[in-house]
Every structure is written in C-alpha cells, then in structure tokens.
Symmetry: C2
Subunit: 325 residues, 2 copies
C-alpha cells in the first residue's frame, strides 16, 4: 500500500495549464485543467495559484491525504537550482524567479522543472520507459520538448537546459522558429509543422484539402495541428500524407538523439505524439534508413508515451516528491 | 607522491597508433607512435600487440613500475561491456571482439573504449575540462569524435555509442559521408572537410591557392587537412579563410551539443583542433549568433584541448585503471 503523502504537479504550456493531485506511485487522484490566460507573467502565476488552491481545498475536503509540496512543469528553460525560468520560447518568462514568486503566495514548498523534463521523468518512472536505464523522451506539442534520464537521474546539464533538441538546426537557413533562429527541428516535426503543412495544402491544392477546409469552415488560417491530426485519425488521405511528412522529420531528428544520447528507448509523447502509428510508423521508417552504422549497432525502440496528457503533471509532482524525500 | 602502478593506453585511429605508459596522474612516462598498418583487423591487432610488448619491455627495463592493465582507445563504436567494436567508419571493425582477441595474446587485462571517449575522459581528468561537472569534448581529426562526462561518469549511453555527433546530419541531402549517410557534421567540420575545401579552391581558383599547391607540388588530389592547417598557421590568407569556413561549421554543430547535452565547457581537440584560435574564433562567433535563447541562458565555454595528441592514450590508460581500481 502506498503512503498517503501527496504532491501536486502543475504542467504549464503555452495554451493549457493542467494540475494534478498525485500519489507516490504516479496515480492522479484529482485533476484541474484550464486555458493558459495569455502569456503575461502575472496572469500565469495567478492561474497557477488558483489551480493549486482548488486542488488543495478538494484534497482536504476529500481527505485524500497530506499535500506536502508542489512541482511545476513549465514550458521554458529552468535553472539547475529549479527556481528560475531562464527563457521561454512560448511564454513571457525571461529570467523569471518563478519559484520565489510562487513560494511567497503558497504555504507549500515549490520546485520548478522544465515541462518536458517532467513528462520524461513520468514516463521513466511510471510509463512507457519503465525499466530502461537510458531514456530520451520527445514531447510533441505546439513545439518539441525533450528530456533525458540516465543512471536513474534526470540529466539537466550544467545550466538546466539539456535535452532541448526542439531547437537544434535540421535545415541550414530553414524555416524561422519562435526562438528567433532558423531551421529548428520543431518547425518540421511538431503541431506547428502539421498546421503549416495543412495550411499550405489548403492554399496550393484546395481540392485535395477538402476535409481540412471543412474542419475550419473554409478559413485555412484557422487550421491547427490538432485539426490535421483529427482529420488523419478520421482517415482523410491528404491529412495522413501530411502526418507522414512530419513523421519522417520526426525520425530524422530522432537519429540525432540516438547518436548523441544513445538511449535504449525513445518515447514520443505530447498532443501530436498521440497520433500513434500514423506518426510513429513513418518516423521509424525514416530512422531505420538514416541511422549511421545501422545493422552494426543496437538501435533504440521508438515507442508511444503511455501517460498521455497527464505525463507533465505526474512527473512534476514526482520530482517535487523526490526533492522532499 | 603518486603510486607506481602504471597502465598502458593505446590510441588507434585510421592513420596512427599511439601507445603510452601512463601513471595515476595522467603523466606519460614513455610513448610509441606508429602508422596504422592498413585497415585489416589482424594487421591492426598485430600492431597493437607489438606496441604493448615494446612499452612493457621498456617499462620493465627502466624499472618504471608495475604495468597492471591496458586500455585501448579505438576509432569505432564500442559495446557497453568495453569488449566489442560494433562498427568503425574508418577501419574494418564490424562486431569485432577486440578485447577477447587481444586478451588471448597478452598477459595483461585489457579494456576497449571509443578513442574520442578516451580523449574526453583525459581532458576531464587531467586537461582543459578539469573541475567541470558536465563536459563535452569534440575531437577533430580526419572525422569528428565525441565524448560526454556528467556527474563524474563517462556517458556511454545504452549501447556504448553516445556522443557520436560527427554523424549527426547538419545538411539534408548533403555531402556523402564515410558512414554511408549524407550531410554528416564531420563532412563539414573536420580534417576531411578542410582537405575538400582546399582541393576545391585549387580546382576552381588555382591562383588563390598557390600556397596550397606548393605544399603538394602542384598535385591538388594529394592535399590533406593537415596541409591546409599548416598553410593557415603559416599565414596564407586563402588557407585561413578555409579554416574560417570549417570553424563556422564547427560552431554550428556545437550549438547542437549545447542544446542536447548542455555542458559547462566544450573542449575542442584532435589534430584539426590544434589550429587553436584560427579555428575556435570563427566557431565561437558562429556559436554566439546561433545559440537559441542566447542572452537568456548561460553558454558553455569553448576551449582548446590541453593534452594534444596524447589525450587518447592518457584517457584509455586511465579508464583501464578505473576498471582495475
């Protein structure tokens, strides 16, 4: 039987906040989801505090147990002391002392982690990467996040920003990225890439894009990656082809991870990752032909994440628990 | 005072074998250098045994101390149990049980490591990366090797092939690489890249390449990276420009290392690395403009290796010592 010491995990992305009450075996006992209220620092902090208060109130009322700490998984690069968000490509954080700001407003100890690090940790502890010693996790949402576990430890790097392969360059002078650079992997293999591919298809070949056009009532500029994903899952051949293209780019970038990190498993999660085999099939195909030394070296398994949208909150909660333990 | 327990380190590259008698503080007490006798497995093994015998004989004669083990740094990908060379882009090893082969012929325990891992370990223990916790080392020779140290441990990955960034793709459909793929980083930032750039200059603009042509008696096909490096160090402006180009590609790839590994220092070693500021200046310039989130995250120092051509043997010897300790 698990002890009843509980932690909260709060996952903050560019579009959504998800908070969970998590036990020591990664079980989510309660959960709150909100839209991210714009990108302003204060609005985001208010939303976090409100989610924490709501979860604490309900935990006390429901006698779930003792909430002992809060882990934040933030869509940004976090300092090694787990206090400061150095930079966020998708939100307004720039050297923002998130931990201090939140600690002031809460009666619980708080730690901050990168959201994709938190998700990777959750998959390693409780999900698709359980039992592996060297793990890489690729989180495909609007952009690409990443996390590496090796020897039982989250590899944060010297400055807290390891595993940020979304912003490695895959195409010289390539597409402009939200980080300011050009050619970043996340511009080719992410929700944003899927949306862009769909919008291009609508513009150039509207007859082939009828299902996508229908999804946005004829306004291509409104098309999101989620729309393309939904059309692909519903069997639309044009959307499936777009997912194949993005999947091939996913496989291409996974080669880089295999060459540098050399994990035994690469877990693909996040909203776009939920496309499953439609995406992972083409990724594995591309990976198989692009891996240097193929046939003469073991290759990692490429698998779908198993914790879905809960991974970030579960991991953030478990990382906070570790800090307390 | 150091103990007098000694190990041998043997560094085997595509063109050279270097063996050293090494003490526990990384000091090289004796040294043997040979050309690699072709790429055939048996010839290379014979050469290793002969280097080991010669060093042992001289150690005994000179009363240097007790030789207790041999570390091999091999230009190939080595299994995690440090026994088998899985693959070598530059030599004939394919699933070759190098450790067993050598153990049979020696009276000393033997371990095998990747040559660039060995060099990285040496720089971490005794060289330019001393005192850093998270270290990446880029070894620029004919190709590019790499090694990562984090938390006091060489990061070998799940299958022994971590840190192989020389074969990450930097240009889609780019130049053909010895590994069989296209667009690998080592085709743009290595001795081979420098030779190629020099040969192209000779072919297209011979008037600008007079110093390079003189170095090879008018036969551009004989030009090596070392020739271009020597011309640059001697002040030839055309050669310096070629080194600048290669240096910019070096900086470009170092961004990928910073994003994925996030070390506090990146050590550049190997024969081409010995170009020093001629190469590192342009690499740092490129790195400074290409690092995502620059200005909002700490950046690693990019420094020249300090152990020169001895790094591989020193590291291989020290890694064998650790195994025995």
């Amino acid at each position: 039987m698990s002890d009843r010491t509980l932690t909260l995990g709060i996952d903050i992305g560019g579009t959504k906040i998800a908070g969970g009450l998590v036990d020591d075996s990664g079980g989510v006992l309660d959960c709150v989801r909100r839209e991210t209220p714009g990108h302003a620092i204060e609005a985001v902090e208010n939303a976090i505090v409100s989610v924490v208060d709501e979860l604490c109130d309900r935990a006390n009322t429901g006698a779930h147990g003792n909430v002992v700490g809060v882990g934040i998984g933030a869509a940004g690069w976090v300092s090694t002391d787990r206090s400061t968000v150095l930079f966020s490509p998708h939100l307004a954080w720039r050297d923002t002392p998130l931990r201090a700001d939140l600690t002031e407003r809460m009666s619980l100890p708080v730690w901050v982690d990168n959201d994709a690090n938190a998700a990777a940790w959750a998959e390693y502890r409780f999900g698709a990467a359980r039992g592996h010693d060297t793990v890489a996790c690729v989180t495909l949402g609007t952009g690409i996040g990443g996390g590496v576990i090796s020897g039982g430890r989250l590899q944060r790097g010297a400055f807290g920003v390891a595993g940020e392969w979304g912003h490695t360059r895959v195409v010289p002078d390539g597409r402009r990225c939200v980080c300011g650079n050009r050619g970043c992997w996340e511009q080719y293999a992410s929700g944003r890439a899927l949306a862009r591919a769909g919008q291009e298809l609508i513009e150039v070949a509207p007859a082939a894009a009828s299902a996508l056009l229908a999804a946005v009532n004829g306004d291509g500029s409104q098309l999101t990656g989620a729309d393309v994903a939904a059309a692909a899952l519903a069997g639309d051949l044009a959307a499936i082809e777009l997912v194949r293209e993005v999947g091939a780019w996913l496989g291409e970038g996974i080669v880089t991870i295999a060459m540098i990190v050399d994990p035994s498993v690469i877990v693909v999660g996040g909203g776009v990752g939920a496309l499953g085999e439609l995406l992972l099939g083409p990724a594995r195909e591309r990976f198989a032909v692009a891996l240097p030394g193929r046939g003469y070296r073991p290759a990692p398994d490429i698998v779908e994440a198993s914790l879905g949208a809960d991974a970030g909150m579960i991991g953030a909660a478990d990382l906070a628990r570790n800090k307390l333990g």
